[in-house]
Amino acid sequence: MTIAVASGKGGTGKTTVAVGVARALEQDVQLLDCDVEEPNSHLFLQLESRESGDFSIPVPRIDNDKCTACGLCSSFCEYNALARLKDRVLVFDNLCHGCGGCRIVCPEDAITEELRPIGKLVSAQVPGVHLLYGDLNSGEVLAPPLIRAVKRRGASEANAMEAGGPGYTAPGAGGPLIIDSPPGTTCPMVTAVKDSDFCLLVTENTPFGLHDLEMAVQVLDDLDMPMGVVINRSDIGHSDVEEFCRRKSIPVLLRIPYSRKIAEFYARGESIVDADSEYRLRFQEMYRRIESIVAEGRAG
């Protein structure tokens, strides 16, 4: 079962919840940190080993001897990464999304591709948790391709595990998989949560928290994905978030009251389940509720 942990507003506690669930479960879990612009799940896990590799996207290179400056490539490119001038075509690597369409439409076969690294793909291990995360290089904006790569790698490692494959303690395909999503409701968030069985939305009782929660709920409605809400610092602020959830029939699965102790553990890079062992049970219970919501959805 795949659970995405998202939020509209940033800083509400996605990572606290994602790592908390991963640590609380008594079976092996895969945790994918898809917040590739600011991955931080690894800070809350005492990693034993880490393996890192470049992640690149293909960018076009044009053979000026073959190019007739017909302009088919630049008119095809949705991102304006190619400029057609009278006698040649200019390439803007920083605008290219790496789709490869220009190479396909070129009638002169003048385009080849070169790999341009835009970030790192990291695989790490702690007892019970197999962590994968993407880390976009500074100044790069193309989060979605790296997020897709993290998810693909997660699926292939789960399959390798299923086949009795090498060295990971990842759960097999279909085992618990937690996705720590980027904040917001734009392409990176959609790319991260897409195809999950369930989405947990972490929010807080503030006007910003509610406003951004409403936007995130709209996205999930469009994706037709079942969801539940976690209210962090639930004893601070007003009750509009609770009312909104009631009105929309969205279950509030967990309330985390403000606690100085949790904040202190957080600041030291330790998980909420270490700060208060009761949260281990609460996260387990939440996971069971999500399992039954997903099972009901599949049945009905």
Binding site: N80, K86, F92, L95
Partner: protein
């Protein structure tokens, strides 16, 4: 010689638009005939790469010089490769900018004047 002035409106008395790629209008001015013509910038609301798109359009229209406020790196690279001169920091009305240009009061730039912007 054909020049393009980025404009906030469709009149000679409209102010120069300080944005290049996302300017509201383009004013094309012909230094030989003294004719002005205006058109709306169809790329202004694009998601990204607007500077590249607008610059490519300038090349298609065979513009030889651009008078504008600021020009970003992608736009400058394209304009420069197309042999189009860029005169930044133009302001006041379109007509006044043309006059100032004709009197040689503007300096052309040899590089971008600001970072790429997305709005």
């Amino acid at each position: 010689m054909k020049i393009c002035i980025t404009s906030q409106g469709e009149e000679r008395t409209s102010n120069v638009d300080p944005r290049f790629g996302r300017a509201a209008f383009f004013c094309f001015y012909d230094t030989e005939s003294g004719d002005y013509s205006f058109e709306a910038n169809g790329f202004a609301a694009g998601v990204g790469g607007v500077g590249v798109q607008t610059s490519q359009y300038m090349a298609e229209k065979e513009v030889q010089a651009v008078l504008t406020g600021q020009v970003g790196p992608n736009a400058f690279k394209t304009l420069n490769a197309a042999g189009i001169e860029v005169y930044p920091n133009a302001d006041g009305t379109v007509e006044a900018a043309v006059q100032a240009f004709l009197k040689g009061e503007y300096d052309k730039t040899s590089g971008p004047t600001g970072p790429a912007r997305h709005s």
